[in-house]
Structure formats: C-alpha cells, structure tokens
Symmetry: C2
Subunit: 344 residues, 2 copies
C-alpha cells in the first residue's frame, strides 16, 4: 500500500510499504477513507534529522474495517470507524479511568510496526479498545467533523475538562490553531459564558467567533495580557486553555489567569521547564492538562456532531489527495492552511 | 514593646519597637500569648543581607484582644484569638471564595507598618476579616495545637485539599518538617487509606506514623522513587503533597505520582522554574497548590482540635521565652528542633 513517510525535515514522501495484516487476534485492518495533517506533525517536519528508518506519519483517521482478528468483538467488517490518536487496550486500569494515553499496552501510531494514519490502510492494535464505530456511511458529509474526534476536538475538550470549565465562567483560549479553535467549541459546550480567544490570524479568529468566542485579543505578550485583564476588570479569567506548546504561551497564560485559577496545557510542550516559581505559588495557580486521552471523549462528543450542534470539521480548509500529502504539509507549515485533509 | 527583628542572616535580636496602636477603625490590638518560628522564617535567616530597616519577624500567633477599632464587630476585648499568617479584609471577592492570600487589601505580617508575630503585641489590620475567636482561655493546654491553625496545619491541609485527596486514595507526603507532618494529619482527615511519608529524620517520621502515615520511605532521589513505586505496584500514588519547596523535591514528586495524578506544592518555592516538560505532559500530571489561605480553613479544622481528634501541636518540640528567640532560630536551623514555640 501507499503511505506517508518522513525522511527528514521538509522531506515527506508517499511510498510503498507492506500491506497491513492481522498479527494479533485483537487486531483489525482498516482501509482509511479520511486522514489529515496535525499541527504536531509539523514539529518533526521542521526538525527531523535524516534517517534510514523513516516514520510512517499521521495519527488521525476514519476508515472502514476490512478484517478482524479472532478475538475482536466490538467492530465488524464493513463498519465505519474512527481511531483516536493513540491506540489502547481499553481494559487496563488507566483505560478504565479514562486515561487511555497511559494504557499499559497502548502506544502511538507509526512506530514499532504499527502503521500511520496518512496512508491507504492501517493495522489497528487492540481494535476493541481503540476504535469507535460511527453510525454513518463512508460517504457521509459529516466525515470531516467526525475526523476531528481523532485528535483536535478531543484535545480541545481535554483542555476544557481538565481546566474544570463550568457554566457561567470566563475562559481564555491561547492559540488560534485547530486545537485552540476546538477548545473554543469545548468551552462553549461546557457552558462558559465568556470565551476570550487570543490569536492574531483574523481568518482563524473569525472562525473562533463563529465557534463561540465572545472576544478576540490579537495582541501578544504583555500587551495581550493587559488587553485580557482590561476585559475582565483586572482579574483575568478563571480558566486558561493553552493550545500552543511554547514557553511564551505559558507566560502569557500565567499573565491572564485569575488568582486561584487553572491553566490547562494541551499544546505539546516545546520546553523542558515551566516558568512557575514563587509568583505563581503566591497566586495559587494550577497547571494541568497534558496529552489528551481522545478515546475517553469520543462517545461523549459524537452526539453533538451527529445532531449538528457543533461543526468542528470547519477547521479543515484544504484537502489534498494522498499523493500530494507533501503539499499538505507545506501549506500548513507556511500557514497557508489551518488544517489539511488527506484523502487516500 | 519587645519584638523580634532580623538584621541580617543569622542575626536575630529582640529589641524595643513602638507599641501597637489602633490606626484604622477596622484594626484590633492583640497581646500575644503564644508565637512560634516557621520553617519559612529560616530562608531569610539564612540569606538576608544586612539592612538598616530590620523586619519584624513572625507570622503565627495566638493572643488576647486588648483594644478594637470603632468598626470592629467580630471580636471583643478579652477574646482569645488566632491569626492566620496573612491578614485579609474578609469581604473582597477573593476572600469570599476562600482565597484570602489574594485579598485585595491583605498582606503579610512584619512589613508596611504591620507588626510581626514574634513579639509582645501586634496591631491587626481588618480584625474582623483576619482573626478567629477561640473558645478557650489563654491558659488552655490546647494552645499549642490551636497555634498550628496560624500556618502549618492549614498549609498541610491546603496541600491535601488542593490535591483533591479523597477517601480510600493513596498519598505521598514529601518532607518530614512541620508542614509535611501536618499534611499527613490532613490526608488522614480526608480519608486517605495509604499515606507514604518521605523523610529521613527518624524522630520526625516516627511522629508522622503516629499522625497517620502508613509507610515511611527514608531514601531520597531515584532510590526513594523506586521505593514508593515498589509500595504501589509500580504506579505511584494518585496524590503527592510537596512540603519542601526545593526543585529536587519536585523531581521526586513527579517520580512518585501516578499517571493522571496531582502534585500539590505548599513548600515555598526556592526555584524559578518547574521541571515539567514533555514527559510530565505525556503523563497528564497536574501541579497545584500554592501559599495556603489559612484563614479559609480555620473554622473547619478547629473542631477537630477541640475534640482532641488531632493533636497537631505535637510538632512543637521546644519552647523558648521571647528574650531567647535567637536560640529558637538556631535550634531549628541546626535541625535540633522541629518547631519552636516563642512565649512572650
């Protein structure tokens, strides 16, 4: 089959790889009908040194089950399914508590003999624990919305949930990428009354307003902090959803959070240390969040998509065929596209 | 009156300072009957450069109200009262939500014309918001226990509360100082089933066992982490109460916390940055805590002391008269005493 491989920074190719086969009785093989490029794919795309063992890229996909191992019970051949961005057994103590990213047998796509999501098909380990059946056909117009259940929508939701967003509260979302915009959707779902979106790309923040942002602050750094404080009687907001992953965004988060408030980080950290010393201690600031256990949220979010209440698929503004996936990376890396669908 | 002043590192003296007087109609003047030395007093005791304006030391005291301003309603002359380690107005939005340390008009003892707690008397700003009347006489044997409501007991309780300790859970307490031992009491009050105390001073950890610690780990660093993981089937504990304030203790906290768990820090940070980057992100570790709003917890904890259910005053192992306060500092700094009472 054809799949996306990253050989080194800037060098993404579609090449032949072995067709996926059932290896374990808990496996399924899924023909991928829709994948996409993630903001986190851009980190290796920017920095990966040349390698002889290029990684299969992609960790978000919707597909159709083609074959199942003998122990698979939850999905059947022909089912349309969505895969969260890590696979997980669904039975260990961490999965049972909803922390599938810490699954004892789980892991990421694209390494250790597991396929990536930007290809024609994938072997899915622990199919019962990993996949969620979608009540749609593979031709459904909802597919892009449903694809966000793989990662961005659940990641934004993880930010809002771990931050403890409750009805009537004020929330700042830092970052106008696909995760930030998904966090706006999530904060609104949880009843936030005021949602301040910090981002400086007007097209993106305009979409953020449509998703539920009540205010947009384009300024960054201290100016941005001052602007948020001005909007909140000097206090800042109880919850801050940090959807960037850079240290500056954390400093900004601390600047806009209310004393006693919570910052949830879901942007993959590009820093080794968090600048939270004595001042943040005196203000009783909590730092939470982390990699989102997307699997834990899919069933909960699915009805909101099926009913049309939310349309998270609007974060996709370009589609490329698999053969042109390199162009998809370029578009996102050059900020010409917000998030790109890859159609095998 | 006589009060404790720190002139520079290692140079603590008892000297004459002006008698406290009512300055605002919301003030009270309190004659101090019991004060003490705090672990946090040792930071300036170790490091303070020589100054012409020595600070009045001490922020924990029980006293008798001697005079009240015209607007004071909550306490009367003759009342025995305890003061939390910051004063606060009791009426602002932060005080109303229980975050008295962020009070709009509050502040620390010993600066800005406010007296310290290691002296014969103190002017108490916002007496109604700050002081809590104790239903005992100044001769009560419970006074040392009640004095812990000023700081250490409430600080340990803040750690346990913000960490979200619930009945049946496992908790690691890092640090066998007076705050760590108070955190053990707090974790037990909240129903923790297993309380692992990390500390290497046998006398202190023995007291920790009496307070409710079910296990003691004397090893530090990776050995200590390994020991806690061995006690917890490899997982670590859901909650970690960090009662030291050093970076090593944070690293140790991350080592012993379960994936998805919470570290609450109540040791005053002696570091500018927290070493929580990508690994802690992948594990969904939460960092919470901060300076304890002691005032928020006093009424809640008081009945447990009055009933004799907890005896937090056992952390005091020495008493010095005010004139010998310098010896009290030396005893604690040299670890010859756990916590020292100062009797004016």
């Amino acid at each position: 089959m054809r799949a996306t491989l990253l050989h080194q920074a800037g060098d993404v190719r579609v090449e032949d790889v072995p067709d996926p086969k059932i290896q374990q009785p808990t496996d399924a093989v899924v023909r991928i009908v829709l994948g996409c490029v993630c903001g986190s794919d851009l980190w290796p795309y920017k920095s990966q040194p040349l390698t002889d063992t290029p990684r299969q890229m992609g960790h978000e996909f919707i597909g159709v089950v083609e074959e199942t191992g003998t122990q698979v019970r939850g999905v059947q051949v022909g089912d349309v399914v969505v895969a969260p961005f890590t696979y997980s057994d669904g039975t260990c103590e961490y999965c049972r508590q909803g922390l599938h990213t810490s699954c004892r047998h789980g892991g990421p796509w694209g390494v250790g003999g597991v396929d990536g999501g930007q290809g024609q098909a994938a072997r899915v380990p622990y199919a019962d624990g990993t996949l969620v059946k979608l009540p749609v056909t593979e031709g459904s117009e909802l597919l892009p919305d449903l694809l966000t259940l793989s990662d961005v929508l659940c990641t934004g939701y993880h930010a809002a949930r771990t931050a403890g967003v409750r009805a009537g509260e004020s929330v700042t979302v830092i970052g106008d990428g696909a995760v930030g915009l998904s966090a706006v959707i999530a904060a609104k779902l949880l009843g936030a009354e005021r949602i301040i979106l910090m981002g400086r790309h007007a097209q993106r923040t305009d979409l953020g307003r449509e998703f539920g942002a009540t205010d947009v602050v384009a300024a960054r750094g201290q100016d941005g902090v001052d602007a948020v404080r001005e909007l909140t009687a000097g206090h800042g907001t109880e919850r801050v959803l940090e959807c960037v992953g850079l240290k500056d965004a954390l400093v900004q988060s601390a600047g806009v959070v209310r004393d006693g408030g919570v910052i949830s980080r879901v942007g993959a950290p590009q820093y080794p240390e968090v600048p939270f010393g004595f001042p943040e201690f005196l203000r009783n600031i909590t730092l939470t969040g982390g990699v989102a256990p997307a699997r834990a949220y899919i069933e909960e979010l699915l009805p909101h998509i099926l009913s049309g209440e939310i349309r998270p698929g609007r974060v996709f503004d370009r589609t490329v065929p698999l053969a042109q996936v390199a162009e998809g990376y370029r578009l996102m890396n050059d900020r010409e596209a917000l998030k790109v669908i890859v159609r095998p």
